[in-house]
């Protein structure tokens, strides 16, 4: 800006100098032009308002719709069944850990036998895979009518034998077998033919070995096995009653819903008939309306069938609680391994809690009223604090927000945790230490990341990062990390890593700007006092730029929470609240997110359904979150800005 001269001045046409006073519709055209541009400027404001309007238009009906659905859920008695059914699910968890404990205990005796058996069978399958083609052609030849001449069969047979022998020789035999056994296996495998269905002798021996060992183990841990079986059996009578009630309730609900559909239809027809002028048409419409008239479901009567069995249900619960408590008391302390012992102990501790929960649930049955109205606050609570998002369910749809929010937040947290140090470090280095050539490498590369479309990164997450993380998690020397080895390739950690990568350019550029804006005078002062470069950077420059850095982190957070494609592809899409009881390893669980759920489900729901509206509600929340994050970022940037004051 040193030289305010114009290198090549634009053609200022002589036209310009002509006096022009004409007006358009009595308005100076200059004003029209001004208004035109002003109007376009307000487009950003208008769009923001429009976004909110359209989201609200599609989504605001969610609350009444959902309220109605929850009301039906209550009146048909589904809620009543869930009072008992929900805590009863705990039984599954307990018995599954008990079952694991049992099998772990049994394994102490039978593991080697089972491994030998399994390994042998695995080898056999490998041989079969390798000789499929020859054995297939042989078996086809054998089935042919009229039968093929024996010499042709013999050729096929010898081919198969050759192939089998080659395959058997090429296998790698595990150390589980002694040298003699390996030889025998190889011989037996080479002799496999499609006609003989019996197992080769050695395999038979191995299988028999395992059966014997297993039996021995079962006698040794008889009490544990028995306790487990008893515990599982205990639930049966109670479950039977509950299932019966559930079926009844579901019928009621289905009838009620069907009635509503028909009734709306009938009312619409009647309305049309009232408007219709042609008497013939009118008559036919009225007739049609009458045809679709159905008896309303007598909810009060039907609910009677359920509530009347409350006492029976309570008795069953009590019985069940007693049985399992007894089972807990006789649960033996001697399990085969340390892991099994902890599991058994956990179950022993868990059963009384479970029994207590069941009793408490049973006590609730009395106070439950089928005709208690569902207040709007309950509905708002059910959405914002609901812990399950269940759709397309044959039982009942629930739109609880918490699983999605928790998934989004955990992923965003991981991403920010990774991206912040990396991008701040990179910003500090490039801004303060890097040579010009290094700057010309680092800056464009990081800015290039911004141009990578998110769907490409999502794909990278599926094809590359997922496998990488899984492989790494299986390294033996990393097993101290909680959650390793991981179960799912696609999980929150994977998504968090990729989102961190996406957030780096935003956070890097803004942080670098913030560092750049630190006044030169601070650096002078620090240098003149004899500070080293590092001291100047960390005691003066970074603290002075901290507001910019914080605001950069917040904007990065906004970007991360709003990102769709990466989480949709990579987060694993399991709609459940992450199980934080697993400790920090929980980050390796799959989850679903606010953005992902919209992208995944909106395409498949019909307009105006409660599900559609719920998804728009999620959109509204996302929109509000993004505005909030932006506002916070601005507030932070303003809060500490001493050198601009």
């Amino acid at each position: 800006m040193d030289r305010p001269t114009t290198p090549s001045r634009p053609p200022l046409r002589s036209v310009l100098l002509r006096s022009r006073k004409h007006t358009v519709l009595g308005v100076d055209p200059q004003h029209l032009i001004r208004w035109f541009f002003g109007g376009n400027a307000s487009i950003a404001v208008i769009v923001l308002v429009l976004i909110m309007t359209f989201l609200l238009r599609e989504g605001i009906d969610f609350l009444p719709t959902y309220r109605h659905e929850l009301q039906t859920y209550r009146r048909a008695g589904l809620e009543f069944c869930d009072i008992i059914d929900q805590p009863l699910q705990q039984n599954q968890t307990l018995s599954s850990s008990l079952r694991q404990a049992v099998s772990a205990s049994l394994e102490t005796l039978s593991k080697s036998a089972r491994d030998r058996r399994d390994a042998a069978f695995l080898l056999k399958r490998q041989i079969e895979d390798k000789t499929t083609q020859t054995s297939e052609s042989l078996s086809q030849a054998l089935e042919k009518t009229p039968p093929l001449p024996p010499e042709e069969l013999a050729v096929l047979r010898s081919e198969l034998q050759k192939a089998a022998a080659a395959a058997a020789a090429s296998l790698t035999y595990t150390d589980l077998f002694s040298a003699a056994e390996r030889e025998q296996l190889q011989r037996e495998f080479a002799a496999l033919t499609p006609e003989v269905t019996d197992l080769p002798p050695l395999l038979q021996t191995l299988a028999a070995d395992f059966t014997a060992k297993d039996r021995e183990a079962r006698t040794k841990f008889a009490s544990l096995v028995q306790a487990q079986e008893e515990f599982e059996a205990a639930t049966e009578p109670l479950q039977e009653v509950v299932d019966e009630l559930k079926q009844h309730a579901q019928e009621t609900k289905e009838n009620a819903v069907e009635f509503e559909v028909l009734e709306t239809n009938r009312l619409r027809l009647l309305e049309a008939a009232a408007k219709e002028k042609d008497p013939v048409e009118k008559a036919s419409l009225t007739k049609e309306a009458e045809a679709s008239f159905t008896e309303a479901v007598n909810l009060a009567e039907r609910i009677q069938a359920i509530t009347s069995r409350a006492t029976e249900l309570r008795e069953q619960v009590e019985k069940y609680a007693l049985v399992i408590e007894k089972a807990a008391a006789v649960l033996p302390t001697d399990a085969g391994t340390g892991v099994a012992r902890t599991m058994v102990n956990d179950v022993r501790a868990g059963i009384p809690v479970h029994a207590q929960a069941m009793r408490k649930a049973a006590a609730q049955l009395d106070s439950w009223r089928w005709d208690k109205p569902v207040s709007i606050f309950t509905v708002v609570g059910a959405f914002f604090f609901g812990t399950s998002w269940i759709t397309n369910s044959s039982w009942q749809d629930f739109f609880g927000f918490v699983p999605l929010l928790s998934g989004s937040l955990v992923i965003a947290f991981i991403a920010i945790l990774i991206a912040t140090p990396v991008s701040v470090v990179a910003a500090i280095y490039t801004n303060q230490f890097a040579s010009e050539r290094e700057k010309e490498l680092i800056k464009p590369v990081i800015e290039f990341i911004q141009a990578i479309p998110s769907v490409v990164l999502g794909f990278i997450g599926i094809s590359l990062v997922g496998n990488l993380i899984k492989d790494v998690s299986e390294w033996s020397w990393l097993q101290w990390i909680p959650g390793f080895p991981i179960q799912e390739r696609l999980n929150m950690f994977n998504a968090g890593c990729l989102l961190a990568f996406m957030a780096v350019p935003t956070m890097f550029s803004l942080s670098e700007d913030a560092l750049n804006n630190v006044p030169r005078a601070y650096i002078d002062a620090s240098d003149a006092l004899g500070a080293t470069k590092l001291q100047t950077v960390f005691r003066v420059i970074v603290p002075a730029g901290i507001s910019g850095i914080l605001s950069a982190i917040l904007l990065g957070l906004g970007r991360v929470i709003g990102e769709t494609m990466v989480v949709l592809l990579v987060a694993g899409n399991r709609i459940a609240i992450p199980d934080f009881s697993a400790g920090p390893g929980a980050i390796f669980q799959p989850a679903h997110t606010l953005t992902g759920i919209i992208a995944q489900e909106l395409g498949e729901v019909s307009r105006g359904s409660s599900h559609w509206q719920a998804l728009f509600m999620v959109g509204i929340v996302l929109f509000v979150i993004s505005l909030l994050v932006n506002w916070c970022a601005r507030a932070v940037a303003r809060r500490f800005e001493p050198h601009k004051a």
Partner: protein
């Protein structure tokens, strides 16, 4: 001014500049400078804009090092008898012992206490008592203690311009430097603040050796013992202030003092 005691001990000059040439890239900024700064005296550098006063000042604590391609091409600068361009000179130690105050006050956006303690902290002082003591001593020296002792934790940027500049002086003397370089410290201040800082300087001269660049000739007369006049990168005249202003040896100096050019 305690001229008697100085005459008795005649301590060696603290800063000596010998035959120094200084270049920014290809263009020479200072030519053949010779200067001796006496112990516990105030030396003023005057001259028209762009004559190289500030450059010369910045040569003394090597602040010019940060400008790429700027370097001393001939001669040497000695501080406390040591050539500061020697390989075994630690820049941080040099700057610790040669403090500097800038034209525009530049306190850090931290508390008053932290500003003063900064120099000590970066040189490894962790003892809380020692820090407290040094902060109090420096603020007292800078005549700020009475004004600020109750709000040491307030942000330094909330102070007035004059207070900020005195705080910067306090910050510079907290590390007990031998030499204090001042680069037009009053040019951005109102007359009252200027007066306060000038008073402060004459007090500081008892304990520190001061080199000050100033635009204001009256100021040089008021506060300095020696004055150097620079013109176009050359040291035209260097003599005791009284002598230079009343009886300049060079024609150029006389012309400048009379205001024939500026």
């Amino acid at each position: 001014m305690s001229a008697d005691s100085a005459a008795k001990t005649t301590p060696p000059p603290v800063v000596q500049v010998r035959d120094m040439d200084f270049c920014y890239g290809a263009s020479k900024a200072l030519f053949d400078i010779n200067l001796e700064v006496k112990y516990h005296r105030v030396t003023a550098l005057i001259g028209p804009s762009g004559c190289g006063k500030s450059t010369l000042l910045r040569c003394i604590n090597r602040m010019n090092d940060r400008v790429p391609s700027a370097r001393v091409t001939k001669g040497e600068v000695l501080v406390k008898g040591k050539n500061i361009h020697d390989a075994d000179v630690d820049l941080t130690q040099l700057r610790k012992q040669v403090g500097m105050v800038f034209q525009k006050s530049n306190p850090f956006p931290k508390s008053i206490y932290e500003n003063v303690a900064y120099g000590l902290r970066i040189h490894g002082e962790k003892n809380k008592n020692a820090l407290d003591e040094a902060v109090e001593r420096s603020l007292r020296h800078a005549a700020l203690w009475d004004e600020l002792k109750d709000r040491l934790s307030a942000n330094a940027l909330a102070l007035s311009g004059g207070q900020q500049q005195r705080l910067c002086i306090a910050r510079a003397i907290a590390t007990l430097p031998d030499v204090l370089l001042m680069d037009e410290p009053c040019s951005a201040l109102d007359p009252i603040s200027t007066l306060k800082i000038e008073e402060l300087m004459s007090q500081l001269a008892r304990e520190y050796t001061i080199v000050i660049v100033t635009h204001n000739m009256q100021q040089a007369v008021r506060i300095s013992d020696f004055t150097a006049f620079l013109h176009l990168g050359k040291l035209v005249e260097f003599s005791p202030t009284e002598e230079l202003f009343t009886n300049p040896r060079e024609k150029l100096t006389e012309a400048y003092l009379r205001g024939t050019f500026s």
